[in-house]
């Protein structure tokens, strides 16, 4: 009988399996024991995403072994993944609410730069003109009270523009969005009826407007405007190249002093100068609708939402050092990076507050 043959076959099989198992365990153990370089995940705001994509390649080239993955998923996701610990750095245009700060202890909101938001539109033939719009008018458009481009209020604000008799298509963000947060804060600060009925937030209950569209992310907003004539959108300044390439028009917004301004380094800096000194130590402050003749009304701190307590000292050091580099005027906050996305560097006082918060990461 083949007893001897089957015995040696079984033995060989067991030997091979055992060797394979042993090798896998040894390799796995070796990998864990050896110094695995930290791998950071940054996720969140699509407004901040282009800047992270400029920072990360240069920083990781200078710091061999460190890997940072960036994602553009919306400020809402940035905040929730930073809270849950999935992402080490949550990028957000919106600071966390008081209730969220109380619910989750030990979260830091660290401003990294100052950005702004554009109101863009797709008016065939008129996209090279800068239409004048105000907070109350935008609130009425997104509230469904102004439905046509040649409405009396729009014509009164833009007497020298031949506005077409077409339905306005207001486009909003469907994902939890920091852009929604700052846009709705502009509407709330300038329009009491919007403030009491809809309010502001990363997600708000948009009034029902027939034909109104939803889009995901800033790139989605650009596409929605490009594909839909007579639409109006709110898009972060870091997408100005995309909106210009798509041929979209940009609006001049009415600020608190009643003047109509376009977003630029000067107008954003003017707004920063008027508001930044009110910044508290936890740096959760809205910069919307600032005083000043030359202030652009929709500007905001770009936040890194970070847990104070990181899972390991290596991780904490990696996060802290990267963010400390990001806020340095000769590091991430230099013109070589910020000019490409249209952002403005942090004033020295704010940078100091950010550095204090970052030092507490362990």
């Amino acid at each position: 009988m083949s007893d001897k043959g089957s015995y040696s076959r079984k033995a060989t099989r067991r030997l091979v399996l055992g060797a394979a198992l042993g090798a896998t365990l040894a390799y796995g153990g070796f990998a864990i024991a050896a110094d695995a370089p930290p791998h950071l995940l940054e996720t969140g705001s699509t407004l901040l995403y282009p800047l992270f994509n400029l920072w990360v390649p240069d920083y990781t080239k200078a710091h061999a072994g460190l890997e940072i993955t960036t994602q553009g998923t919306g400020s809402g996701t940035g905040i929730s993944e930073a809270i849950s610990g999935i992402a080490q750095i949550g990028a957000s245009d919106a600071y966390m609410s008081e209730a969220q700060m109380k619910k989750t202890e030990g979260m830091l909101n660290v401003p990294l730069a100052i950005s702004s938001q554009m109101i863009n539109y797709n008016l065939p033939g008129l996209n090279d003109k800068n239409l004048k719009l105000s907070g109350p008018v935008l609130a009425d458009i997104y509230g469904g009270k102004i439905t046509m481009w040649d409405d009396a209020q729009l014509k009164a604000m833009n007497p020298d523009v031949d506005l077409p008799h077409q339905t306005i298509i207001p486009v909003h963000r469907t994902d939890g969005s920091g852009d929604t947060f700052i846009f709705s804060q502009y509407l709330s600060s300038s329009t009491p009826s919007w403030s009491s009925s809809v309010g502001f937030g990363t997600t708000i209950s948009w009034p029902a407007v027939q034909g109104g569209l939803g889009a995901e992310g800033n790139p989605g907003m650009v596409n929605a405007a490009k594909g839909n004539p007579y639409s109006i959108v709110y898009i972060g300044i870091s997408f100005k190249n995309a909106t210009s390439a798509a041929g979209l028009g940009e609006a001049m917004l009415q600020n608190k002093a009643g003047k109509f301004v376009l977003s630029s380094k000067e107008t954003v800096s003017a707004a920063v100068a008027a508001t930044a000194d009110k910044t508290p130590t936890d740096e959760r402050l809205s910069l919307i609708f600032a005083d000043g003749d030359n202030s652009y009304p929709i500007i905001n701190f770009e936040y890194a939402i970070v847990k104070q307590q990181q899972p390991s000292p290596d991780m904490a050091a990696a996060v802290r050092e990267f963010l400390e580099w990001a806020i340095k005027p000769d590091g991430g906050n230099s013109a070589q990076y910020l000019d490409q996305v249209g952002f403005v560097p942090l004033p020295p006082a704010i940078a100091k507050l950010s550095a204090t918060q970052l030092a507490s990461i362990k």
Binding site: S97, A99, T174, D175, T202, I204, S205, Q210, G212, G227
Partner: protein
């Protein structure tokens, strides 16, 4: 003996997991079910409330001020898009199944059937992407305005053509996904009909069309209904493709068939991140309530379909010859 118990445990794990999923959803969503009550399915307003104000106590639960959860527009959107998908898929599916079963010789039938069934293998997100890039511009710029000029006098067919994202687009994309199901089931049923049935009716002088239309199809009506209900169940749960072409309407019902809509499955995906911002968790629990309602509807529909189709299998064995 140990093998038998092991097998029993493994086999029992499957129905157990189904029960556990429903149980988990119910337990997790229970506070939301209590808070929302029946107006959850009759109210047309989904409002997360003011997430940046402090939570308030309403009816004994903590919620964000102004929070109100109503999903009527989701139920309407889901039902309308599935009905439109079926209205397109059933005639096309029946036609394709009849063609494959009756008008095509053996080897060609195998090849063509293979292709139709491969359509079911395409991931739904691919359908969504194709819909987004190809279908929407075509529909929005050409087909919808044409339909309005020709059919605009009918209710729901007139009005602004919109941007191409909407109810009809979702229905079209969904129908492509459920057609293979109908074709495959019906074609198998038609092919399995005994040749004597066809020969008997042909001997009485029926044309090929009459054979199909008056004898074969009516005898397979239960299979067709069962397959359609199965397809309905598939279309109800379809998430990614609809998310990309439906336009994501919020808080309003469609005024015509070109208007944006939202379906329950797509809504859960698109709103999850926002709901996680709610410090009181009531928003996520309300999303879980939507998931529970969707699961129960889908389970009931699939159950009905399976029963109908299993009757037919038993019936076919009995009805050999009258």
């Amino acid at each position: 003996m140990r093998f038998k118990t092991g097998l029993a445990v493994a086999a029992g794990a499957l129905p157990a997991s189904l029960v556990l999923i429903i149980l988990f959803l119910t337990i997790y969503a229970w506070p939301a079910i209590l808070f929302n009550g029946f107006q959850f399915v009759t109210s047309n307003t989904w409002n997360l409330g003011n997430l940046y104000s402090d939570p308030v106590m309403v009816n004994g639960v903590q919620i964000s001020p102004g929070a109100h959860y109503g999903i009527l527009f989701l139920i309407v959107g889901t039902l309308l898009s599935t009905i439109i998908a079926l209205l397109i898929a059933v005639p096309v599916g029946v036609g394709a199944a009849v063609f494959l079963a009756e008008a095509v010789p053996g080897r060609l039938r195998l090849a063509l059937s293979f292709f139709v069934e491969l359509l079911a293998a395409v991931p739904s997100v691919v359908f969504g992407l194709w819909g987004y890039v190809v279908v929407i511009p075509f529909l929005g710029h050409y087909l919808f305005p044409f339909m309005i000029s020709v059919l605009g006098f009918l209710p729901f067919f007139g009005g602004p053509p919109g941007s191409g994202y909407g109810l009809l687009t979702s229905g079209v994309v969904l129908s492509l996904m459920i057609v293979p199901l109908i074709v495959a089931t019906l074609r198998d049923a038609l092919v399995s009909q005994p040749a004597e049935a066809r020969e008997a009716v042909t001997a009485l002088g029926a044309t090929k069309f009459e054979v199909v239309w008056k004898v074969l199809l009516p005898s397979q009506s239960r299979v067709l209904i069962g397959a359609s209900i199965l397809a309905l169940g598939r279309a109800l749960g379809e998430t990614m493709a609809v998310l990309m072409v439906s336009g994501n309407a919020l808080n309003y019902l469609p005024g015509n068939i070109y208007t944006p809509i939202s379906t329950m499955a797509a809504f859960i995906v698109s709103q999850l991140d926002s709901a996680l911002q709610d410090p009181t968790d009531m928003a996520v629990k309300s999303l879980a309530e939507i998931a529970l309602i969707l699961s129960l509807i889908s389970l009931i529909i699939n159950f009905l379909a399976r029963i109908l189709l299993s009757f037919e299998k038993q019936g076919a064995r009995r009805a050999t010859f009258a």
